[in-house]
Amino acid sequence: MKIVVCVKQTPDTAATLTVVGGVASWGDAPLVLNPWDEYAVEQALRTKEAHGGSVTAMSLGPQAAKESLKQALAMGCDEAILISDPALERADSLLASAALAAAIKRIDAPDIVFFGKAAVDTDTEVTGPQVARRLGWPSLNLVAAISELDPAAKTITVERLLEEGRQLVRSPLPAVVSVVKEINEPRYPSFMGIRKASKAEIPIWSASDIGLQPVPEPALTWPEVIAPVRAEQSCEFVSGETPQQQAAALVERLIEEKLI
């Protein structure tokens, strides 16, 4: 099977978002492989282990995103491709999905493309489904288990995790599958994988390499980012002998604070 897994480099989940000069900033938070994507990589690797083939990790991002691709290689992916172009720097999900779909089309006959449910920074949950739409393939999202996969018959059956319960969906391949964290427990990179990944040369595909020319303008822009005023919280106990006295004391305090 030809398996592709799309991964994104994101700030660590412990990072906090601030606004610096009208621009959203994660500060100097460490950049990691998007935590949801670890599950996607794991599922891609398990699929390869069960059915043979190869796993290509693909990322759209700046040069630094190579580090996250190296993490995917260290976990066991066979190769990695970085799509990077100044024109794609401010990509919204529409543009990102256009670039990813264009790049996936350059790969020889993929059978399945994995995504994590969302990226922890932008959190749109739509990149996977949009890529599916652009490729004209079925989109299977919120996938918590793959119950059956038949590479010869080119079919897949998955369990989708919905609020109401689990939904069993059968689909033809190729398909785009985005996974939730219930699907597996991601492995650690192996030392052998780390050695290979640290030496790997990761090819970079520009917008023209993937035939995305001219690069469309992103539909969404962020004209202004405003940080909400941080609310100072404090807790105060109002006391009184009886409930009546407590209520009276509370009313007094609220009037004092000009709240009523």
Binding site: E67, K70, Q71, A74, Y188, P189, S190, F191, M192, I194, R195, A197, S198
Partner: protein
């Protein structure tokens, strides 16, 4: 000079950190209270390749360097000292001694299963009557045909009850010309007839680990299991310490970091006199000391790691790194308790475990008093390194990562 860690080292660090934080940290308090080692620890460390991290692939290892070994130890001890102790004795004392001194046949027989994590190794030198004074140890090894017969008792041996093999030093000459020439080293199969082992209870620290005794009664050890030449045991033991102490130094840096992280988090949360205690200068002084001690400890061990990679003798530097980092980790743990106030005194918080664990490392692998003697010896010119019959090989990536025929690379 380059102080940055490359992608390989960073990924090693992250991988070991994730393992320790995810798989050990959530349960460590429970095992520490039980005074037992979790049965998961050794198999998991073996499966992940941590137990073979710095051995050549052709000898069953992962082909990484000495700096990777140090980084792994730092991450392990940042969670619990007992994890790093495994590295000190399995990799440091036992495995690396086989790499340095072992014949090819001995490496095939003993080192490969150790590096693959299929067997566990330990280092057995101390006895109830001999710790610092190694040359005075009393366990005997008498030649009997082509074998040796070993008798005696080793005490305070980490992983005594878990290990399959011990690098064990015993007396082969009761009346040598020089005191140190009476000893020889053996790789003893701890499943042999006449070997009994057990764990010591009631230890101050490293309670989630195993520290015990090995009793030997007419234990038959074939001549092929003698490491090095007869009478070379003292030198082999001292060179084993050069490896073991490095892992202790790196681990202690991790312990300082753990104290620092716990203290920073708590100092920002806890309020007194209307402000977080992190605003009080006396608390800041403690935190500043932990931060700079961590940096110093790290610089020292990374330098030793670099020297080892180059194949340069490092007894002096390793001694300084070990002594500094272990003293500083004890101080950091004590100050972390101060920052935590009464909560630091309870095992609901991690820092009291850090203090109990830190104390041991000032005793084993040479007490810190002995380290002062070693360093003074070098500084005063009374002590110099003499060439050994076999030196620890330098790290050569190509050789370390070459696959020899018949030895599969573990995935």
């Amino acid at each position: 000079m380059d102080f940055s860690l490359g992608p390989e080292h960073q990924m090693v660090q992250k991988m070991v950190r994730e393992f320790a934080q995810k798989e050990v940290a959530p349960f460590i308090q429970e095992w520490d209270r039980k005074q037992q080692m979790s049965p998961e620890v050794l198999p998991r460390m073996g499966k992940l390749g941590i137990l073979g991290i710095c051995f050549p692939i052709s000898l069953g290892g992962q082909g990484l360097d000495f700096i990777s070994l140090g980084l792994a130890c730092e991450e392990l001890e940042a969670v619990d000292t007992t994890l790093r102790v495994v590295m000190s004795v399995h990799v440091g004392l036992c495995g690396l001694s086989l790499l340095q001194w072992g014949t090819e046949a001995q490496q095939q027989e003993f080192l490969i299963p150790l590096a693959r994590g299929e067997k566990i190794g330990c280092g057995a030198f101390s006895e109830s009557g001999a710790g610092s004074d190694v040359a005075n140890l009393q366990t005997t090894a008498k030649q009997d045909g082509t074998d040796y017969l070993l008798n005696g008792e080793k005490m305070w041996i980490s992983l005594a009850s878990k290990a399959d093999f011990a690098l064990l030093t015993a007396r082969t000459d009761s009346n040598p010309k020089r005191r140190s020439q009476g000893l020889s080293s053996f790789i003893v199969d701890l499943h042999s007839a006449g070997v009994t082992t057990g764990d010591i209870k009631g230890k101050l620290g490293v309670r989630a680990g195993s520290t015990g005794w090995i009793s030997l009664q007419d234990v038959r050890v074939p001549k092929e299991s003698r490491l090095g030449e007869q009478g070379e045991g003292f030198k082999i033991t001292m060179s084993a310490f050069d490896s073991g102490r490095y892992t202790v130094a790196a681990g202690a840096a991790g312990l300082i970091r753990a104290c620092l992280e716990a203290s920073v988090a708590y100092a920002k949360e806890r309020k007194t006199f209307g402000q977080p205690i992190a605003e009080h200068q006396l608390v800041q002084a403690k935190i500043a000391r932990m931060a700079s001690d961590y940096e110093i400890a790290k610089l020292l061990y990374l330098k030793v790691g670099w020297m080892k990679n180059q194949g340069v003798r490092n007894t002096y530097e390793t001694s300084m790194a070990k002594q500094f980092a272990t003293d500083a980790s004890f101080n950091a743990a004590s100050e972390a308790i101060a920052v935590h106030g009464s909560y630091g005194y309870s095992d609901e918080f991690v820092v009291e475990r850090y203090l109990r664990n830190a104390r041991g490392a000032m005793i084993y692998e040479g007490t810190n008093e002995i380290h002062s003697l070693i360093q003074a010896g070098y500084a005063l010119g009374n002590r110099t390194d003499k060439a050994l019959r076999r030196e620890m090989p330098a790290y050569e990536p190509q050789r370390w990562q070459a696959e020899a025929a018949g030895i599969r690379e573990a995935t």
